[in-house]
Every structure is written in C-alpha cells, then in structure tokens.
Symmetry: C2
Subunit: 291 residues, 2 copies
DNA sequence: AAAAATAACTGACTTAAGTCAGGTGAATGT
DNA sequence: ACATTCACCTGACTTAAGTCAGTTATTTTT
C-alpha cells in the first residue's frame, strides 16, 4: 500500500469534506446558523417528536429546546403536546416554515443537479456514489416491513423485473407470471420486507401466504451496488422470522437457473430442492424449507 | 427523477457527512480542538509558510496566528523567519510535533483501513471512490511539471505500461521500446507533466526533446476514473505550451491503432499523419504537428 | 397514593471559532 | 529617502455550539 488504497481513500475524504463544507456554507446563505437549519430540515423530513430530532442530530436536550424556541420566534415552527403522552412535544412546520424548508431542499437539489450536469458520465457517477454510500452506511441498513404497493416496494420491484428481463434468456413479462395479490404479502397472511439504507430502498423480499400453514418466498432482490454484503441472506432470515410469527410451517419458492447466486444461497441455508409445484413459465427450480 | 438521481446523490451526501463527522470526532480524541489539529496536520503535510496554511484552511490571519501560538506553547511547532523575506514566517514541527502528527495520520489511516477491511469488495470500492473524488474535485485538477523519475511520474508510467500490456495484442515490454532518457524529458530539453487531483496523480504526458527544434510527445496517459473529462486534451495543450516555451517548431508522436481514443484526439486537434519515423516495434501510427 | 422515572425546559455557564481594527517591522516602488 | 505595500501579529470583540445542574409537569411503578 504505497500510493494506493489508503491514499486513494484519503483523497476521497478530502474531496468529500470540501463538498460537505460547501453545502453547509450554502445553507448558511439563508441567514440562519447551521444548527437551526438542521433542526428545521429534520422537522421538514418528518421528524416531529422532539426526542426523535434530538437522537437524529445528536443534540443536547437544552440546546435543542433553545433552537426550537428560536424557530418558533421566527414563526417557522409550532410545537404541540404529543397526543398520547403530555410530557412529550411534537414540532411541526408552519406555512412559512414549509416555504423555508423548500428553499433548503432546493439548495440541496440544485447542488446535486449541478454536479450531475457538470459531470459527463452521470449514470456511472451515480452507481459509484451508491456503492460508496452502501459501504459507508452498511451498519445502518435496516430491514423494514412495507406496503407492497408503496413507493419503496414499487421501486425495488421495477428494478427486479428489469433485471429478470435482462438475465432470463426468455425475457420476462410480469403479466405472464403469477403476480401475488398485495393482500397476500401483508399481515396477517404474509409480509413484504424492504432493506433501506439511508432512506433509499436497496433490496426486498416478499412472503406470500394464503392463510394456511404454507407460504411462498417471492421477489427476492438486492440492488447491484449492495451485493456481496450478505444482504440477501439478511432479507431471507427476516422473511423466515416473519413467517414463524404468522405461524407458517413450510416455506416454498421457485427460481430460475440463470439466478446462480440465489440458488447457491438457498442451498447454503437449508432449502431442499422439490418437484415443480406450479405451472408458471419462468421458474425451473423449486425449493422447500421446513421451519 | 423520482426516487432516482437526486435522492441517490442526497443519500450519498448523508452517508458521507456522517463519515466526515466521525473522522472529526476521532480527531477530537487527542484533546485538541479541531482548528489546532487541522493546522498541525497542514504543517505535517508540508505546508510550512503561514500564508500557505491560511489559504489552504481558509482561516483569518489573526485566528491562525493564535492557533500557531497555541501549538508553540504545546511545544509541537516552531516558527522561524522565512529565509528570503523576513516579513514572512515558516512553521515546522518539533520532534514532539512529528509524533503528534503521526498519531493523527494513524487515526486517518486506521479509519481508511477499517473501511476497506469491512467491505468485501475492496477494489471496486476504491474505483468508485476515485470516480467520485474526480467528479467532485474536477475543477481542482492541476497540471504540474514533475521529475519523470519521481514518485508521481513513476505511478502514472507503471499504470500506463500495464494498460499498454492489456490493450496491445502483442503485449508490451518497456525494455523493447525506446525508453526516453529522463534528461530528455526535463528542462531545458523537454518536460514531463503530471495531472494531479487532490494530491493523487491521475494522468501524465512527456515532451521529449533533443535540444533541436523537433520534439516528441510520449507517454500520454489518463487514469480510467478520470476519462471522458477532456483531461488528455488539457495535458496535450500543456505539453504544446511547454514545447513553445522551449522553442520547439515541430512536434511528433507515435501511437498504436489499438488506442482509438488517442488517435481520435490527435486527429481532432490538428495533428497530421506522417510516415514511420522510427523502428520501435509497438507503434503503427505516426503524427506530426507544426506549432 | 406516594415515590420514582421521564420529557422537555430554563438559567448559568464554557469553549471554539471567527471578525475586525489597528500595530510592527520588513520589503518595494518611485 | 520616503511613502506605500506586505506579512504577520495583538487586542477586543461577537456568535455559535455545547455542557450541566436544577425545575416543572406528566406518567409509571410500587
């Protein structure tokens, strides 16, 4: 490791520190100290409860109180008692606060847009950023249950179908496959899990139940930039845990021989190959696992 | 641009802000405010002159003075008058200062090493970081003259030779090619230029003269992560400017048909194809340009 | 029902960081 | 030779950020 690994990472750090500093400076342009701006943005991004803001920004309780008072005096924020617990308080943006929040959003978005516009190799840059963000934030990848019809799930599923289309020699058309009803992938019959890294969905898996003691695993997908980190394994474990919770005894899944990593994972984690159990045109491998 | 481009960049920003913050916090662990630590590190990295430190860190003159006094009182730094101009002062680390500096270096390096060790896809991550750093720092890419035998030049040349080996169907062995004498690529006969981004060499070009009014362009190379940004054009322009300075009237170069981007660049920028002018085994294209 | 725990708050601090108006001695221009 | 410019310095500020002990109103525990 001479001019390489370490110095490449440190060069990256310098470049990125400068960028972060520049964004902070642009935030200062709205005439408000950074601390207040960060609180305003935390509220704008849906963090209403005072305790949640404190945790997210790592602020002292006294300091946050004062920052909130400041924003209230500016007329940007109101705080109300928490409906279920009168000790806590919930902050919300006023109309003026929402305008101010949008202005900060616009600053961030413009910077991001500029960067992309200035750099000729946009998609390549985005992929590199995804990879770096995943590497830096990998302890913060959370697996959450989500509505299979919601925006994060749809984002994953669209990527999943696109990838199947590329990888299956036959192409892939959702309409021809047995598209699970959303209700089959929601409690109490099933579940849909999304892996989220810093707010961006980067993987998913569906557990499709029919109310009986058998359920199917569907739509296991991990974003290319997050592969090789054991995320599909974590997703499968979470899906199995959810299956146990709703009283499933036997899990099944179908897959395609083109998806070699997936097949290897199933074999490694206790799944056994069984006979075809449906007449879906795409799968050619069928597995079962008893919980 | 829904869940895409902009939100991917902003996710990257969040991940990276957290990382930068964590590094700063680890620096705080040595019991010194960040400002002092940054000054100490700037000196350790060879920025001795007070004015240079000020520019680099963007500090107010008074503030820097005080920080320097503080470091002097700690016994980490001494400042001496500038040898050629007694108004200026030059700061240098004492023995204790060098120890302290190494401790900061170790903190940075450990963080970088940890990241690499934790992430299974190391080389891929490094390439992604290079690309992002280049994209963020592209206005800061500087073209500098360097000793062709120095570390930055050797780093570029090694990468250049390796790439030729991959791209030429015949492979490439430096010993068989006419390796220019270093003195031919230094003033007053020639020059060697290196493109530096944030301290890391990412491209080079050699101007090889024999003392006459003809010179050759050699060893044009740009790091893969920095391609597509017009850097080779900038390098060539800088080489031509250097050639004019040392009184060259005619430039020549040889190239290989496998290096298509290079050939396209030469044709676009006023070079004309000429007959073979050497018996080097690798090139099969020969160009000339009158200045 | 009283005691303990909790969430947010207020007041009284400290520290870091930055600004700005001079001041000193050395170099430079005419 | 003199005024001007320059590089760094000191003193006197301001602001932002953060700490900490103690208060109040509420909820939870016993």
């Amino acid at each position: 490791m001479s001019i390489d690994a370490i110095s490449r990472i440190r060069r990256f750090n310098r470049a990125v520190t400068a960028e972060v500093g520049a964004l902070d400076t642009s935030f200062l342009g709205r005439g408000r100290p950074l601390g207040s701006a960060r609180v305003l943005n935390a509220i704008g991004h849906g963090r209403g409860e005072v305790g949640a803001i404190r945790d997210y920004l790592g602020l002292d309780s006294g300091l946050l109180s004062r920052l909130l008072r400041g924003l209230e005096e500016e007329g940007l924020v109101v705080t109300l008692p928490h409906p279920g617990d009168a000790r806590r308080r919930v902050a919300a943006l006023t109309e003026a606060g929402r305008r101010e929040f949008s202005a900060y959003e616009a600053l961030s978005n413009d910077r991001a847009g500029d960067l992309l516009a200035r750099f000729p190799k946009g998609e390549e840059l985005l992929r590199a950023m995804d990879l770096v963000a995943t590497a830096l934030g990998r302890d913060r990848i959370a697996i959450e249950e989500a509505d299979p019809r919601g925006e994060p799930a749809r984002h994953c599923l669209a990527a999943y179908y696109a990838e199947l289309g590329r990888r299956l020699s036959t192409g892939f058309d959702v309409a021809l496959s047995r598209d699970p009803e959303a209700a089959d992938m929601m409690r109490p019959r099933g579940a849909f899990l999304v892996a989220v890294s810093d707010g961006l969905p980067i993987g998913c898996v569906g557990l499709k139940g029919k109310g009986g003691e058998t359920a199917e695993i569907k739509r296991l997908w991990v974003c290319p930039s997050a592969r090789g980190l054991g995320l599909s394994r974590r997703l499968m474990e979470a899906a199995e845990a959810a299956a146990r919770e709703i009283g499933i005894a036997v899990l099944r899944l179908d897959s395609n021989s083109a998806l070699t990593e997936a097949l290897a994972l199933y074999r490694r984690t206790g799944w056994v190959e069984i006979d075809r159990f449906n007449d879906d045109p795409y799968p050619d491998f069928f597995f079962e696992k008893r919980l």
